[in-house]
Structure formats: structure tokens, C-alpha cells
Amino acid sequence: MTTPQAISASHPAGVRAPNGTGSSVSRVLGVVALAAMGLLVWLAFVASPRDAIQGDLVRLLFLHPALAWTAYLACFIATAASIQHLRKGTVGSDILAHSAVELGAVMTLLTLVTGSVWGRPTWGVWWVWDARLTSTAMLFLLLLGYLALHRIDAAPEVRSKRSAVLGVLLVPNVLLVHQSVEWWRTLHQDATLLDRQFDFGTSDLFMFTMIFGFVAVTLVFSWLLLHRFRVGWLEHQVESEWLDEAIEARRAEAHAESHDGTPTTGGVAR
């Protein structure tokens, strides 16, 4: 059912397609996000002191939880957009879901990497079967599954519809995996090792920097999502462009036939 929009999008009379992914709003957002990241770097590396126990490692805490938060945020956006796509069949909701999952996968990977970097000196190994690490790794695999399905070589409606069903399942899957992994680990130990080894809440600056980290990372996430969405939208428009030409070419077959009487062959026989 996406095709009617596909065609109307290809020739909105007189409206020129944008030739970039920026707009005044996104430029402002970009500058704000950049400034916020700059401030975060200053807060995290200059203003904040080393932690008594953790040393410099504690600075990862300004980034790691915020990354994890955007990864989960991306899942919720993807599921909401997928539900919308199944209800209305709009092209935009499919593109939004796909953009969110793609960014979510990047954020999940960064979460894993920062967690692992923090874990190496703390635990002495790169990986432990910690509940939170394990369910984050599973989340990464779920997101890769969505991306694999979205990449299949099939008609656009088929691809977007199937991806949307997978997108709807994303949040329930994340919750179920999270719950089961949590219980699985609490059989033997505390669910997560992360919480126990800090003594934070002491310094106001520390808390502020951590919360500010959430703000800055969310801003960057929004900026990236906006642009990824617009790239998807432009791709979609380019794909729609061929349609007029293809219909013209197809009609030319009919004209050729009625003029010289030679049967045209070729094309798809269905």
C-alpha cells in the first residue's frame, strides 16, 4: 500500500526536492549539540576530579549510561514508528523506524565498547556475563536482525511491511530478553556489577556532569536521527523518480506495436 504515496511523492508539482539533508532547524540543533558535546568534554575531563577508587575510569560514566539510554530510546522510536507503519502504511514511518534501528545499533555497540573498556581494568577481563552487558549484547543482535531483514532484495512494500512487524516486536523482545537475563544472573549473584562499586552522589558536579551527559548525547542522537531520516527520504525520492520514465518506456512499447505491427518482446512475463 506504500506505492500511492511513492508516486505522489515523486511529482509534487513545482516543489523542488531538497539537495541536502540540512535545514535551518537542523543547523541550529547541530550547533547546539556540538556546543553541548564540547561542554561535556570540558566538564568530564577538566572540571571533574578523578575518582578516589576508580581513577580516570570514572569519566566513562559520563558517557556510557547516556549511550545506553539513546539505544533504548531508539528501540522505542522504532517500535512506535513500526506500529504507525502497519496502521497507516506511510513511507515516512518505515524510514523513521529504519533510521532509528540503524542509529540504535551504533549506540548499542558504543555502549558495549565503553562498558568493556571500563570492565577490563575493573574486572580484569573484557567480558563478564553480567546481566546488563549480556542483555545489551542480545539487543545488538536483535537490531542487526532488523537491519538484515530491511536489506533484503524484495519489493519495497514487502520489505517495509515485514520490517515493520519485526520493529513492533522489538520492544517486547527487549523486555523479555532483559527480564530473563536478569533472573538468570540473579540466581548466582547480583544482577549487575556496575552499581556496587561506586560511591557517587557525593559531588554535585559529578551528578550534574552525568545528567548533562544524557542531555548532550540525546541532542547528538536527535541530530543524527534527523539527518539519517532525511537521507532515507531522499533515497526514497530518487527511487520514485524512475517511475515516470519507466511508465513512459512501457507505453512506448504499445505505440511501437500499433505503428509497425511488430510484436514487442522482453519485459517481465507475468
Binding site: L86, M138, L141, L142, L144, G145, A148, L149, I152, D153, A154, A155, E157, V158, K161, R162, A164, V165, L166, V168, L169, P172, N173, L176, V177, Q179, S180, V181, W183, W184, L187
Partner: protein
């Protein structure tokens, strides 16, 4: 909807009776997996015995992938998908029918597998109530998720590689919960296992619900 479900399930089971693919290929494959585990884990060190619940459910997951592929290769034949749409069958009914037929076949395989692990890995049967309940709930969840992901991958050129990659991560909660519940049952402490049974039941209900709701749009695509 239930009428359509019965019709589809009866048709799938009749196809199995006539073709015997599950009986002659999938079931022996499940037993083969039990042998492979024994080769991988030293049978003398009691590793097999300790890992029995987990190995059982891993074997079930392998079987699931094959059974789901079989279930949807039936519908991949000669324009059958179009015919299902032309017949005006209710999508929810088609989902429940495919689901029911898959669950019945999986349960048969699981019973044989259970006998296999008890015999080959020398475990004693215990906690039968919990074992049976776990098997039913876990299989309902596996069947519902398998049916839904099966149709997601059906008809694609990459379906054989895509299906396990999409399905198995999703079944991780079932593997965890069913394994723990089996452990409790076989270790003789069934009371520890019932919370896991609850998780399995929730999983099954979530997937049956989403399956009924979304199957329509999956059959509807052209």
C-alpha cells in the same frame, strides 16, 4: 477464526502424515544432535548429566528452525500464498492453524528427545508436572515466535540464512527459562521452577497475541 485455524492445522498435519518429513528427517536429526553433544562433552565427566536440561532445549531450538522452514516451504509452493488470500481465510486463523500444527509436531519430537536424554545421559525422571507444564508453555512460545518469524522470512531468497538469525536471539528467553525450569524439575526442587514457567507463559501469550494481530499485514503484502 477458529474454524479457519482448525482447517489449516488439519491440512498441515495431513501433509505431514502423507509426506512424513518430520518423522523421517527432523526427528532423527534431533537424536543425532544428542549424539553430537556426547561427542563434544566427555560422557565420563558427568558434564552431560549436569548439562542435560540445556542440551535438551538447544536441541529443541535446532529442531524448531528446521520445522519452521518446513512449515513455510509448504506454503511457498505453486502460488499457494495467493490462493490463501483468494480463499478469504482470516489471517489470525491462518496464524493459529500454522501455530497449532507446528506445536503438535514439536511436542512429539520433544517427548522422544526427553526419552533420549533420560536414557543416553542417564538422568532420572523427576518433577513430571513441572516438566510437562514447561514443555507445553515453552513449546507454545517457540511455536508462536517460530510461526511469526517463519512468515517474515518466507518466500525470500535468503530465508534459510535469515530465519535462524532472526528467530534464535528472540528465543533466548525461552532457552533460559525452560532450561532453569527443567533443572529444578530434574533436581527435585520443582518449586524453584514455577517462576520460570510463568515467564514462559507470558512469552507465549505475547507472541500469540502479536501473531494474530500482525499476520494479516504479512499475508496482505503482494
Amino acid at each position: 477464526m477458529l474454524r479457519d485455524a482448525r482447517l489449516i492445522a488439519a491440512k498441515d498435519l495431513r501433509i505431514e502424515l502423507r509426506s512424513k518429513v518430520t518423522a523421517s528427517q527432523i526427528l532423527p536429526f534431533a537424536l543425532l544432535v544428542l549424539m553430537l553433544f556426547a561427542f563434544a562433552l566427555d560422557p565420563d565427566s558427568q558434564a552431560l548429566e549436569r548439562a542435560t536440561p540445556g542440551l535438551f532445549w538447544v536441541a529443541v531450538l535446532f529442531v524448531t528452525v528446521l520445522a519452521v522452514e518446513r512449515s513455510f516451504s509448504l506454503e511457498g509452493g505453486d502460488g499457494v500464498r495467493d490462493a490463501l488470500r483468494l480463499a478469504g481465510l482470516e489471517p489470525g486463523g491462518v496464524f493459529l492453524g500454522k501455530f497449532a500444527a507446528l506445536v503438535v509436531q514439536l511436542l512429539v519430537v520433544e517427548v522422544v528427545l526427553l526419552l533420549g536424554v533420560l536414557l543416553l545421559y542417564s538422568r532420572d525422571l523427576a518433577g513430571v508436572g513441572l516438566l510437562a507444564a514447561t514443555m507445553l508453555a515453552a513449546t507454545a512460545g517457540i511455536g508462536a515466535a517460530g510461526t511469526l518469524y517463519g512468515v517474515l522470512a518466507a518466500g525470500l531468497r535468503v530465508r534459510e540464512t535469515l530465519l535462524p538469525f532472526l528467530l534464535l536471539p528472540v528465543l533466548a528467553p525461552v532457552l533460559i527459562a525452560a532450561t532453569r525450569a527443567f533443572e529444578s524439575a530434574l533436581d527435585g526442587v520443582p518449586s524453584d521452577g514455577w517462576p520460570w514457567f510463568n515467564l514462559l507463559a507470558v512469552f507465549a501469550l505475547v507472541y500469540i497475541g502479536i501473531g494474530i494481530l500482525t499476520f494479516g499485514s504479512l499475508l496482505e503484502e503482494s
